[in-house]
């Protein structure tokens, strides 16, 4: 049997999450087919065909897929599904929206947020916000799997020699339409793909302080900006900055937590980082229990000093 990977892309390029998902697909040891569904996205298919580990690319180019509506995307996947034993997607807001719907159309469950692949039917996944790790065996006829990007390396952008095959659209189901999007404009790297992340918590005190304290440090390091749920709840920054159980899971080389106490729910989103730095005035804050390097003190003096010393 073969593995199908639902690629996340923006009709121009394959997103980094797809590269990690392909690595997970390669671990299954079967033929890897990548599905590119979008509009005017031939260049994405060409890019995907060159990725290491990709044997075949299916291209469904149709207006029905321009905004990746779950209803239309899932119908397409369900139509293709009988030819595959495994269907993978990144565990991003893209994959988490579309893949369970495709699973439902095939009367299968999804195995969510997979961290490891033990065999063709046995997988490792986090439960309770990553405070426990479960090994699960699926009896479903098709294994629908979302893949946590941080658990798999990204595949190389060259070395593949996949064939691009155009496929027919499954059409517009016509029960949902795209109205609009408000995307945060930022020159900084994307949170889940960044090599360095600087996050602020409630201790930062205000949205203004995020701009004058957290952002300059991030920009000095070429880092992405994150936040704790407390900072999001307090309205300092938008929700898509949120790192944690209910936000994004990140695992950069360097994670700098500024004014973050380290609630369980936040730790769940960043514990996988290679090196963690904590800056907090409370020496007993739980964040210090996971930090490689901690500084106890006032973030309003430490961060500017850090910027100067970098």
């Amino acid at each position: 049997m073969a593995t199908l990977v639902l690629a996340e892309h923006d009709n121009l390029h394959v997103k980094p999450s797809t590269l990690h998902t392909i690595t997970a697909a390669m671990k299954l040891g079967q033929q890897v087919t990548v599905l590119i569904a979008g509009q005017n996205c031939t260049s994405v298919a060409t890019e995907a065909a060159a990725l290491k580990g990709v044997d075949e690319v299916l291209l469904a180019d149709d207006a029905a897929y321009s905004h990746f509506l779950a209803e239309n995307m899932a119908a397409l996947i369900a139509k293709l599904s009988p030819s595959y034993s495994h269907i993978l997607a990144p565990a991003t807001s893209f994959g988490k929206n579309i893949l369970p719907r495709a699973a439902g159309l095939s009367d299968c469950a999804q195995i969510s947020d997979v961290l490891g692949i033990e065999s063709l039917d046995t997988f490792i996944r986090p439960i309770y916000a990553g405070n426990a790790i479960a090994t699960v065996r699926s009896a479903d006829k098709i294994k629908f799997i979302t893949v946590r990007s941080t658990a798999f390396e990204s595949t190389a952008s060259t070395g593949g020699s996949g064939m691009v095959k155009k496929i027919e659209s499954a059409g517009n189901i016509g029960i949902s339409t795209f109205v609009g999007a408000e995307l945060s404009k930022s020159e900084r790297p994307e949170l889940t793909a960044a090599r360095i992340v600087v996050s602020g918590g409630r201790g930062v005190g205000s949205g203004e302080n995020f701009k004058t304290i957290i952002e300059p440090l991030a920009d000095k390091l070429g880092a992405a900006v994150g936040a704790s749920r407390a900072a999001v709840d307090a309205g300092y920054v938008p929700n898509d900055y949120q790192v944690g159980q209910t936000g994004k899971v990140v695992a950069p080389d360097l994670y700098i937590a500024v004014g973050i106490s380290g609630a369980i729910q936040h730790l769940a989103g960043m514990k996988g980082s290679k090196t963690i730095v904590a800056i907090n005035k409370d020496a007993d804050a739980p964040i210090f229990a996971v930090a490689d390097y901690g500084i106890v003190g006032d973030l309003f003096t430490i961060v500017p000093e850090l910027i100067k010393n970098l």
Binding site: H67, A70, E71, S93, F94, K96, N97, I98, P100, R101, A103, G104, L105, A109, Q110, I111, D113, T122, P126, I127, Y128, N131, A132, I133, T135, V136, R137, S138, A139, D140, S176, F178, V179, G180, A181, E182, L183, S184, E190, L221, P238, N239, L254, I264, K274, I276, V277, A283, F288, A289, V290, D292, Y293, G294, I295, V296, E305, L306, N309, L310
Partner: protein, 249 residues
């Protein structure tokens, strides 16, 4: 408009979980249980739509052990009109629940289903889309805003990088994200009133549904532990460590 919301009884948000020593799962005996926080948001949204005059009736559904009915009482104390309880003694998984919910939806005929985006025990985040697929209804997942505009439901969704708004035909299914609303606390008079609201019990057999899990848990263990590091005295030492020891900058 009739709204159906689903609620799940889970280990309370603030409890630090304990893994059973035999690795079979997470200890739920003698642990504080509460309504899944995302389901509280679903309940709140349904109540607000009724208060605005958009909805005429709100119904909550749960699955689980006898005590799960307490979660239904909480939903009704917040303002839900009535409840349906499906007794299940074994482990409850998304696919079985979605199949059973489909039967309940066929009977109740709601116009809108509001569910939490995920339950904080299994973190699977899939029951909503699976159910929407089975019903052939549109879905608005990870909602931060829900509006009924001329017979359609407009859902603003939290996506990576920002927000997206979709227009869905009714009937539709919505799953809630954190910023949709701030759930209310039930007042004492409403808690008393909720005791008199009806809970209908429907067994899986009556629904003709097999709730046997398709996903078998082989073992549950702790995550890889992370050793705490050191506290450094000043910024200069920190920069030195990051450059020369961790080699990350």
């Amino acid at each position: 408009m009739k709204i159906l919301v689903t609620v799940k009884r889970v280990i309370d948000y603030n409890v630090k979980i304990r893994i059973k020593s035999d690795g079979s799962g997470v200890e739920t005996q003698n642990v504080k249980m509460s309504m899944n926080p995302f389901d509280e948001i679903a309940v709140e949204e349904a109540i607000r739509l009724k208060e605005k005059g958009v909805a005429t009736e709100t119904v909550a559904v749960t699955f689980g052990v006898v005590q799960a009915q307490e979660t239904l009482r909480t939903a009704m104390a917040m303002g839900i009109d009535r409840a349906i309880y499906v007794p299940v003694e074994t482990e409850i998984q998304s696919l079985g629940v979605a199949r059973a919910l489909k039967k309940i939806v066929e009977k109740e005929k709601p116009d809108l289903i509001i569910m939490g985006k995920q339950a904080i025990d299994n973190d699977s985040s899939q029951t909503g889309p699976i159910l929407a697929a089975m019903l052939g209804w549109p879905q608005g997942t990870f909602a931060s805003k829900v509006e009924i505009i001329s017979g359609k439901v407009h859902v603003t969704r939290e996506i990576d990088g920002g927000l997206e708004t979709l227009s869905l035909s009714l009937p539709a299914l919505v799953t809630t994200d954190l910023r949709l609303n701030e759930p209310r606390y039930a007042s004492l008079p409403n808690i008393m009133k909720a005791k008199k609201k009806p809970i209908e019990t429907i067994t899986p057999a009556e629904l003709g549904i097999d709730l046997t899990p398709s996903l078998q848990t082989i073992k549950v263990g702790p995550p890889p532990s992370r050793k705490g590091g050191i506290k450094v005295a000043d910024v200069a030492t920190l920069v030195d460590k990051l450059k020369n020891e961790a080699k990350v900058i």
